[in-house]
């Protein structure tokens, strides 16, 4: 059994905790949260040991691995402390506020050979995985341009401020929503290293942007557009999609449906010239416990398997998350074409 503890029992933390609770190879040894009420409920109804001081928890329960699901601004300090204690880490996205911090932590984790993963769950979605496979196989030829989008109904009117509306704490549409798309583009297309211009627009929020639009370029000189808006009420929930245009074809994919067009019959097995449509139902592996999408269970299972040495620690590493943080900072620096 892998002894796992959680720091931060908010929306993501509790979701992770539930999936971990059902995992046959995991023993939950402790939960640390600042909310007395949340701790109280978890003690009373789940029987977990809870703590308000995470260091006290680490000293007491000595976990093999910790899930960190606290606001991003705390990640750098907490993660460094945890790495120094030789603990395997799963950290929620985005990784750190400053990419220099992310790079430093990635280096420590690597040096100490600790399993490290960040919660960019899109990489565990069957359609996006298939997009990666098609592109890596060169099946749509040389990539010319991409479009990465995400829309959803998070902020639909002016409301009270929380940490999510504070840019200093990692709030805002860029950190919360756009980070997913950037991370996916880095993974599927190529690492982005140039931002030619960006617009960070408030719609309802006072202090942060509710929409992000940017012109991007990868290190392999592929151009692309990022369009993300979390004040979009025509969507029922977050919807992420990517379009990739290549010399031999084109792909349009979201989390449920993959559409790919091949200019010629030179395409992978199971596809043919012209338009092809595949659904996530055909591309998704069964999970043992389902809470809110196979990908959330799959990413946790992958992390546990990596600790057990059954899979390589090469998905959503701190290193790849640091690259995403770097693009976020490039977009901020080019804000409104400063």
């Amino acid at each position: 059994m892998i002894k796992v503890a959680l720091i931060g029992a908010g929306k993501m933390g509790i979701s992770h905790l539930s999936i971990l609770g059902a995992h046959p190879d995991v023993e939950i040894v402790g939960v640390a949260d600042t909310s007395k009420m949340v701790n109280d409920v978890l003690e009373k109804y789940s029987g977990f040991k809870t703590f308000t001081d995470y260091k006290k928890m680490l000293d007491t329960v000595k976990p093999d691995a910790v899930f960190v699901a606290i606001p991003t601004k705390f990640h750098a300090d907490f993660v460094e402390e945890l790495l120094n204690r030789n603990i395997h880490l799963f950290v929620e996205k985005p990784f750190c506020l400053k990419y220099e911090q992310s790079e430093k932590l990635a280096a420590i984790a690597k040096e100490k050979k600790l399993i490290n993963q960040v919660g960019y769950h899109n990489k565990f979605i069957g359609t996006f995985d298939e997009v990666k496979r098609i592109i890596s196989g060169g099946h749509i030829g040389n990539i010319q341009h991409f479009l990465g989008e995400a829309y959803g109904p998070v902020v639909l009117k002016k409301k009270q401020d929380t940490w999510r509306s504070d840019p200093e704490e990692g709030g805002g549409c860029l950190m919360d929503y756009a980070s997913h798309v950037i991370d996916l583009l880095n993974h599927i297309v190529a690492p982005i290293n140039t931002v030619h211009g960006s617009l960070l627009k408030p719609i309802y929020s006072n202090k942060v942007e509710d929409a992000v639009y940017a012109l991007l370029e990868t290190e392999t000189k592929i151009s692309g557009v990022l369009s993300v808006n979390w004040s979009e009420e025509t969507y029922r929930k977050m919807s992420t999609s990517i379009t990739v245009i290549g010399s031999e074809g084109k792909i349009i994919s979201d989390a449920s449906e993959l559409k790919v067009y091949f200019k010629s019959a030179k395409c992978p097995t199971g596809y043919s010239k012209g338009w092809n449509v595949k659904y996530v139902t055909d591309l998704t592996e069964q999970v043992d416990f389902y809470l809110r999408g196979e990908e959330y269970s799959a990413q946790i299972d992958y992390f546990i398997k990596a600790i057990k040495g059954e899979v390589p620690n090469n998905k959503n590493t701190f290193e790849s998350a640091a690259k995403t943080d770097k693009v976020i900072s490039l977009i901020k620096n080019k804000k409104n074409n400063a």
Binding site: S35, V41, K159, T162, R236, K237, S256, Q286, V287, L291
Partner: protein, 288 residues
Amino acid sequence: MERILFGDNQFFAVNHISDEKSRAQSIKFKEDKTILDTIDIARDLGTETFMCTTHDRIINICEMVRQDPEKYKNFSIFPCMPYAHKYANAVTELGIVGTIQQYVPGNFFGTMFKGGLAVMSKDYISIMELMVDAEMKMFKKINTPVIFLQNVVTDLLLGLGMKDILKAYHDYVIKKYNVEPGFITMNMPKLLAMLESVGIENPIICSSINKAGFRMSGGMEIYEKTLREKQVRAIAMQVLGGGAIPARDALEYVCNLPNVSSILFGASSKQNIAQTISLIHEFDEKKK
């Protein structure tokens, strides 16, 4: 419970395989009247139970139903609560405590929390009960023989091992509404084991059951074994496996499983509704 239950995903742009189809559905069912007309098609074909999430738009549907008691005298709704996206989006914005403060009726929780008073176990259960009551308001005077807990909540509690809250929900539905509690889940065998552990016998559990094994967590074999060997009133949903299986094969499979009391399906057109209902009747007849 009726053998065939009519579902609501098609009305609220829930499509597991295509965002484009979702959008087309949103456009088609823009008017509440169109939704009720489609429910009427299913009713005319003998399916008098509508199983739906506690979406805001159901408030209007219920209002229209109340206005014509004669027409809807045999009609029932199986409410499924809560409409999770409403809360999930709120939690993203307001956090957990903020969301509870916004949605738990009255300021009982607000004053208690701000005052820093100790919260007793019974108070947490009261919060759950208040939330159930808030969601049930829209169904006033409508027959609701089974009230379901949505899968996101059921499965969250299941993973967290919060069996006492599942039991408290179960008991409250019986005590307050004098109807049957039901549970929707994506982890039917695990849930059944947990419900049995708190003394709930032969529960109503709605879960994905289909020939493709889609969303049958842990695998089809354990589902089939559970249906064969355990006591459960199962409702099969997602019988088409997200569109992966042709209707005839799909329905033949679920109709022939033991302990599947009801089949839940959703469709937008008269033709698809009629086809599904007649196929279920056909396979049920063959079984006799």
